[in-house]
Symmetry: C2
Subunit: 391 residues, 2 copies
């Protein structure tokens, strides 16, 4: 039986066009974009073509504002640490939110070990940051605000434009982790008014291990990787050209197909939300009902343990996740779910269901049926499940 | 006319087996190695298989000592900065050599901006570091020694084992930038006795944008990329699985074919060195005559400008380089050549000729003939070329 992939946030399959482009690139024997001879020229052209496609996707003013990286994590590290180090003489205070991805959280934890101070603003029960909290948190020595565009566990989309107008007024650099938004929902860096914006290729069906950082012209940051003069001295190292070519094609398709993809995603989401009560009871849907990613549902299922549920569904060839793959090894309750008010038990009983353009409604129904059986089995053996809660 | 690639140091073509493995990986729709379901298991197995191949190539005690990175530059940055930061309380002094790659040099320059001190030991006219200079440079607060295995511009191979016995005795972490050696000449981390060793996949015909860092068990360093728990918490971020699979296959072949490749490389080198005097005069061969990479010749050609020579040879469809591609945009005289005693003019007139397993002797003769004509033309218009030097 085919595997139903409802864990697209961990890994999206590559689009056929992306595969073809990467396979052609592998066969083309590209040189090194930095070389001065013909072999280098062809590579350099391919690199810059991808940069233009990516720049168009996020509507940056110039392709030069796009720095290629090895993925979302590197982009975030480059933005957060790069600005913190470059601005150390101005100040060492950073503002963030309680529900950021580990790439931001742990970059900031690292900076704390270097005497930086961090203020983390809370979120409401939907996971929304209040822009006025950000305004209040900014101090004389604040050099960076880092808030995510959308949350990777609950899908809530933050009020980035409003926060950007505050940071601009207060002359503080604003970084946005948009890894789970770029290529999925429209992201326009000029409209948002941000200074730095991190993204990765896989969320829009490009290869893993490739990403980028939008750096608004004039935004000063230290490179994370020092060495050669690649990427206009902002990121040293010979480029992953095959991956970058894949990302470029994926970006073009994301722009072209955004409307159709979004309609499909939204229909899938409506189906899950409408059908869930017919299959299980005692659950909570996490995240904002409207300001939210269309390809994700987070559901806290009471009286069960999410890890067990993932394994049981895996036996039925259905891939889902309890949370982001990056944190899967950690076995701690999600800081995101605790921040929006879930208790420890509910947080542990949470599934993140994420679908992609190739999923069909029948995948959802196969999942829902398997979920009903698995939840029933797990609750029967759960000491937490009260008899009064039985259906 | 086919392009003769004698600039392999900038970019090696992928081996057919590497291409096949990467194309199969692209078609296989791997998941995320960190996921807990079947899609993740297959990805995780492929990842660990590559790790074992790479570990065998450098003879590390355990595959766990191999951290995958986005390439040699990231490996070097992780090693140098990672140790410096982790050991900051013990001391902030680092020892290196005058002829390191820009990845090391500029990582150290960055650390100097964070109040670290660097002692750089000189090299002799062959580019060799004297181990006793390293011993003398190590002080109470020295936390790291970073010396390259082979030099990327002149090919000289450094006395790493001797330096390692010094660092071990003095209890200082020893990092070796072996980017241009691993997979090209035998590199055995246990025999060398080093703590950290950087390498990249492309020098042994794997893809660009992939590399690794050997981290001897017990060596403490801060990650450069914070975030997820990948790579045993030493390098966060979803892996470039397609690239890593390519590197794994390239590593297996490097081990299997090392002997045959080396014989071919050496024969090519002997041919160039023997034939050069029949084609040009007034030149100097740089680097050590024996302790040297077999796939590289550096030649300083008097009374010409190297960049012009590269462009003229490019017109003849011959790719060569004046120096490493990473520095190609910089247009400064090579610090390596100045360090071994070349003057500014000779340094500017230097070609680095690097060949690969697919090059044939006839490629060298095509190059030599084109070189003769180009040198003649350039010298005729050169104001530096003395009449008395005419042949």
């Amino acid at each position: 039986m085919d595997i139903v992939n409802l864990d697209h946030l961990s890994a999206n399959p590559l689009l056929p066009e992306v595969k073809d482009a990467m396979i052609n690139a592998i066969r083309a024997d590209f040189g090194n974009p930095s070389s001065q001879h013909k072999l280098g020229d062809r590579a350099s052209e391919a690199l810059e073509k991808s940069r233009e496609s990516v720049a168009q996707m996020i509507n940056s003013e110039s392709p030069k504002e796009v720095v290629f990286t090895s993925g979302g994590t590197e982009s975030v590290n480059l933005a957060v640490k790069g600005v913190a180090w470059a601005k150390a003489e101005k100040g060492k205070h950073i503002v963030t939110s309680n529900i950021e991805h580990n790439a931001v959280l742990r970059s900031l934890r690292r900076l704390k070990m270097m005497d930086y101070k961090v203020t983390s603003v809370p979120v409401d029960s939907y996971g929304l940051v209040n822009p006025s909290d950000v305004a209040k948190a900014i101090k004389e020595d604040t050099v960076l605000v880092s808030i995510m565009h959308s949350n990777n566990e609950i899908g809530t989309i933050e009020p980035i434009e409003e926060i950007a107008s505050i940071t601009r007024e207060k002359n503080v650099v604003f970084h946005v982790d948009a890894v789970d938004s770029v290529g999925v929902v429209p992201v326009d860096v000029q409209k948002l008014g941000v200074d730095l914006l991190s993204f990765a290729s896989n969320p829009f069906y490009g290869p893993t291990g490739v990403g980028g950082l939008y750096v608004r012209r004039g935004t000063h940051l230290w490179p994370l990787l020092d060495g050669g003069v690649q990427e206009s001295n902002r990121r040293a190292g010979t480029e992953n050209l095959i991956g970058i070519i894949g990302m470029g094609v994926a970006a073009e398709l994301a722009v072209k197909d955004m409307e159709g993809r979004t309609a499909h995603m939204k229909e899938m989401k409506e189906t899950v939300l409408r059908e869930l009560p017919n299959y299980i009871e005692h659950y909570i849907i996490n995240g904002h009902p409207e300001r939210s990613l269309p390809n994700l549902v987070s559901v806290s299922i009471k009286y069960i343990e999410g890890e067990s549920l993932v394994l049981m569904l895996d036996d039925d060839n259905i891939a889902v996740s309890t949370r982001s793959a990056c944190a899967a090894g950690a076995l701690q309750a999600s800081h995101v779910l605790l921040s929006i008010g879930r208790d420890f038990a509910d947080a542990q009983g949470t599934l993140v269901i994420t679908w992609g353009i190739e999923n069909k409604k029948e995948d959802l129904f196969r999942f829902l049926k398997a979920l009903r059986e698995a939840v029933k089995t797990l609750r029967e053996i759960s000491p937490l499940y009260p008899k009064s809660a039985h259906a």
